[in-house]
Symmetry: C2
């Protein structure tokens, strides 16, 4: 072979290799996942339940998958996004209810007393959420959330919260939908809060968002019919509340469930206890370099040792963000 | 034309006419409706909201239609089907809770004391429902309902209750779905009760059934995860509870709503108060010959004069079963 001929040959090989690699990537529904056991568990499960004639075949109407949101679909550190939103809404709420300015909890937020804020109890946070999430119509509230999400930034990544989502989980959701699944968000966070961005961010419509829900009050005057948000809780969609919320809204046991903390334990148990092929996975935050590393001792997104033991004994897949995910965020692509 | 030739000609005309009529029927999505204003209101509405480029065009994801069940989709006289079910479940419930045998309400049912039963208050009926609808898993309850529906008969028509459905309303539901709508049942009846037959009877899946819901309790033992029905109410999906339930489960305002009684008033107001093309309809039971005739003074399915006035003033369509429906039940076809 002469030199020119050799060069042409090398060029052809290079182009062909690139094209083949690109085609392989295009075919891979989970390009942000490394080729580890976690990815294999997903692909094997989907192959089984979608193969007609297979003993594990599941009819499309029974292909229900449920996803936790905070820590499973998007970043929950250093604080749940919705709690940050509620705290930033406090000045506006105090303007409407001046008597709150004398309350220790609201005083701490207004004066940005970090030490006092760090000591807030769950009851304090519930009070803040109740006050900042009520008194307006459901539509007005969703607009307030949308406006806030358009300008707020996650403090570490300096990106909008709706970009601080996990690319591998988004691919998993899309892959399941392309395989005939219905994908639901089942969140301990507020249902109306998550509905404000779930369609645009995850492609999940409002009727597939199950969350902690406040009571609303129907009001009809001058031909206008509105639902006003009340500062009272109807259902808490966390822990045992997750299977209960799933039953209320879906009325059917999921065949796949994804979470990351003790709040998701019962949802995974409920999913796993059904008959036929099942897929239960827990995202483990073990990558302090690219995201955060936390578990047993974290107040937010607690992944207890007991949960880890249960996952091992039941064969649930624990996803290591460090080892199983090639990329974490959409902007890394 | 000689006689043979004339006969052939008549035959051809007859066959052609039959074929043309059959083709016209095949094209008509609402063959059980007479060609009156009610049918025209439906067809015009669907044409408007599905025509791309039209000012009234509605994107498929926003095409939400909600249907009441009792009296709108199936017969509710002489008593709500679910109340009949609950009363027939009383002997089994008393076997499990022998102390109930001393209670006046349960005594009346056990001894078939028609006079006492006729005097039952809403509180009495709620007590019967609470006792007969709790203490089992959600799946067990649905199976009990299915088994009962398989053998119970509507007393006047001597047919299973799931056949005592309104053929015109079924066609309307199917027509809307074929036009890209999601069709929901929004019932004052029990959510689990209606979910037991909605898919088979109406083609409506469980996650599109909104109803009065009891609380459930998550229970996990020996690897089995179950939701046990409790004798407590979580939400009453009637009157103002209908828009509230719609918001909880769908998170979106419907563009079409169908009911038949004062329990549906708020659902229709809520639907009608949105912007863009809307369709609100009320089934009026005015056909004692083919079904039942009742309204203002009926304890079951009350259609008050105030509701009739509101319907007229707001332009809601009142469906006359007598004049607008060619056939009422599926078996008449």
């Amino acid at each position: 072979m002469n030199r020119t001929c050799y060069r042409v040959f090398v060029l052809i090989v290079l182009v062909a290799t690139t094209l083949i690699a690109r085609a392989a990537r295009a075919q891979d529904p989970l390009p942000s996942w490394n080729d580890t056991a976690a990815k294999k568990a997903i692909v094997d499960f989907v192959a089984k339940v979608t193969k007609e004639g297979s003993p594990d075949f599941v009819k499309p109407e029974d292909r229900i998958a449920t996803f936790d949101n905070d820590g499973t679909m998007w970043v929950e550190q250093p604080i749940y996004t919705q709690v940050e939103f509620a705290m930033q809404r406090v000045p506006a709420a105090v303007k409407e209810h001046p008597e709150l300015a004398d309350n220790e909890v609201f005083k701490a937020i207004l004066s940005r007393d970090r030490e006092a804020i760090a000591k807030f109890t769950l009851g304090d946070i519930e009070k803040i959420v109740a006050v900042t999430h009520s008194g307006m119509t459901v539509e007005q509230f969703k607009q307030i959330v949308k406006d806030w999400l358009d300008r707020a930034e996650q403090p570490r990544f300096k990106k909008p919260y709706t970009q601080c989502i996990y690319q591998p989980m988004l691919e998993l959701m899309q892959y399941l939908r392309a395989s005939g699944f219905k994908t639901y968000i089942v969140t301990g966070g507020g249902q109306d809060f998550v509905r404000a961005f779930a369609q645009k961010t995850y492609g999940v419509p409002g009727d597939q968002v199950i969350g902690t829900a406040g009571k609303v009050k129907y009001q009809y005057k001058d031909g206008k019919a509105e639902l006003i948000k009340l500062p009272e809780v109807l259902l808490i969609d966390d822990k045992t509340g997750k299977p209960e919320g799933i039953n209320l809204v879906i009325g059917q046991r999921p065949i796949a469930a994804f979470g990351n903390s003790t709040g998701d334990q019962q949802m995974l148990e409920y999913t796993g206890a059904g008959s036929g092929a099942r897929l239960m996975m827990l995202v483990h935050h073990d990558d302090a370099v690219r995201e955060y590393a936390y578990g047993q001792d974290s107040k937010i997104g607690t992944f207890s040792n007991a949960l880890m033991d249960e996952a091992k004994s039941k064969g649930w897949t624990v996803i290591s963000m460090k080892d199983d995910w090639k990329t974490i965020f959409p902007w890394e692509k």
